[in-house]
């Protein structure tokens, strides 16, 4: 015959709760101490969202994945720290055309290629990536297509890659408010500069000068 004891019944529940609470708090504390999660977003300090698409390198269209690229560079026998300057632009946007001529052309020779004029340590590399989006698809006077991207790149004498994002997949993932929008991404995939976050007058070029280490031979 089972005999009930009200005190023991309450005690059994609170003992169980105590054990489970201690277990839960211990596990949670360990996780909190040993990890430091960085959340994905487009603010400074966030992990850059996925950026995947076809890029035009001047001769062919190839698939590009930003994070895969950063991981591969970090895992080389002699790791290369690659900083990415990413510009979201539209080939039809006036400001983007102006920026392409006034800033991107001179800055690419300063930072990219085999002999950049800015001094950097040997294991540090800078890549530019222009992501071509479609701001007004279907609007008269706004032309889109892969040929628009290749001719834009050629017109301004750019040597860096252009990504075709005219389906706006990456634009939506990143939540781009307008064009041109610039980001500087560290070799760890963390955003160091973001136009929406930047103070007035502080440009991506200023951020690059500040964030990217100097050193090595010029």
């Amino acid at each position: 015959m089972l005999r009930r004891n009200i005190c023991n019944e309450a005690g059994a529940r609170s003992d169980g709760l105590m054990f489970v609470s201690v277990l839960f708090i211990s596990a949670f504390t360990y996780i909190a101490i040993t990890t430091n999660p960085v959340y994905t977003g487009i603010g400074v300090g966030d992990r850059a969202p996925e950026l995947v698409g076809d890029v035009w390198d001047g001769s062919s269209w190839t698939e590009f994945d930003l994070h895969k690229n950063l991981d591969e560079n970090a895992n080389l026998e002699i790791p290369v720290e690659t900083y990415y300057m990413i510009e979201f632009m539209d080939t039809n946007c006036g400001y983007c055309q102006q920026s392409a001529e006034q800033f991107l052309t001179p800055e690419q020779s300063k930072w990219t290629g085999d002999n950049p004029t800015r001094s950097m340590p040997e294991n540090v590399k800078v890549e530019f990536l222009a992501v071509s989006i479609a701001l007004h698809d279907g609007t008269e006077g706004w032309d889109y297509g892969k040929s628009e991207i290749t001719s834009f790149r050629e017109e301004y004498g750019h040597t860096f890659n252009y990504m075709d994002d005219q389906d706006n997949d990456n634009r939506d993932e990143w939540g781009i408010p307008g064009t041109p929008t610039y980001f500087l991404v560290s070799p760890e995939g963390i955003i160091l500069y973001s136009t929406p976050d930047a103070e007035h007058g502080y440009t991506v070029w200023d951020a690059m000068d500040y964030e990217i280490p100097t050193g090595g031979e010029q």
């Binding site: 089972l2 023991n8 059994a12 169980g16 839960f24 596990a27 949670f28 992990r47 994070h67």
Partner: protein, 228 residues
């Protein structure tokens, strides 16, 4: 020496396999050999509850490990943990930002697992401590219902793995643990409704009460005359 992800996973399987054996007919011998330390393992009910607690503990630890990998993946990149070329590749699943959190609530699945197994553990430990309590039936019913709800979530997560094209060994371990726990709750409910429960109890309730008194869980108040 750093252990790889699959070797680390084995540590979570130890309590799960131990619990599964204890719950099975093979567990009778194991229960008897451990009964000098834990008297309740002499009965089927005690072995089922003991095995269930061990399985849930394994489920809890593997869920905590999953949350740890989730955080590490967002800290250092998805490819840093348990990446593999084969179909078993937990970092591709846990590190996948489209699928690695619960819809609407946004909680990482590892945390959901921790909460679920913590609830299960509480229900099972309470029953193990006081099998004759009035709330045993409601505990078993909560365990069964949450178990079924969890199985629907497991189907969703299997669909996520299908979409990603990879399988996560850590998640699968937690899923197996959850399914065993649910089966355990159903088995206990069947015992509770039948005669097995009270038969188990009648032989052990007296012993359990004696043991509890011996451990000093209850101190009787002294009579006024004794104090003076």
């Amino acid at each position: 020496m750093e252990l790889d992800a699959n070797t680390q996973l084995m540590f979570h399987w130890i309590p799960i396999i131990f619990g599964l054996v204890l719950m099975s007919p093979l567990g009778e011998g194991l229960g008897k050999s451990l009964s000098s330390r834990w008297k309740s393992l002499e009965t089927v009910r005690g072995r089922t509850l003991g095995g269930l607690i061990a399985v849930m503990f394994g489920g809890f630890t593997v869920s905590a490990h999953t949350l740890w990998i989730h955080n590490k993946a967002s800290e250092m990149g998805g490819g840093q943990f348990c990446s593999a070329d084969g179909v078993w590749d937990c970092s591709s699943v846990i590190g996948n930002s489209d699928w690695n959190t619960m819809p609407f609530l946004g909680l990482p699945w590892g945390l959901v697992g921790m909460l679920a197994f913590a609830l299960f553990l509480w229900l099972a430990i309470s029953i193990a401590k006081e099998p004759s309590a009035s709330w045993v039936s409601s505990n078993l019913s909560i365990g069964r219902n949450f178990g079924i709800l969890g199985i629907f979530m497991i189907f969703y997560l299997i669909y996520a793995e299908y979409e990603i094209g990879k399988l996560c060994q850590y998640c699968t371990t937690a899923h197996i643990s959850h399914v065993i726990s649910t089966i355990g709750f159903f088995r206990l409910s069947k015992m509770y409704d039948g005669s097995d429960w009270s038969n188990s109890s009648s032989t052990t309730t007296e012993t359990e009460s004696k043991e509890r008194r011996k451990r000093g869980g209850y101190v009787a108040p002294k009579a006024a005359s004794e104090e003076e």
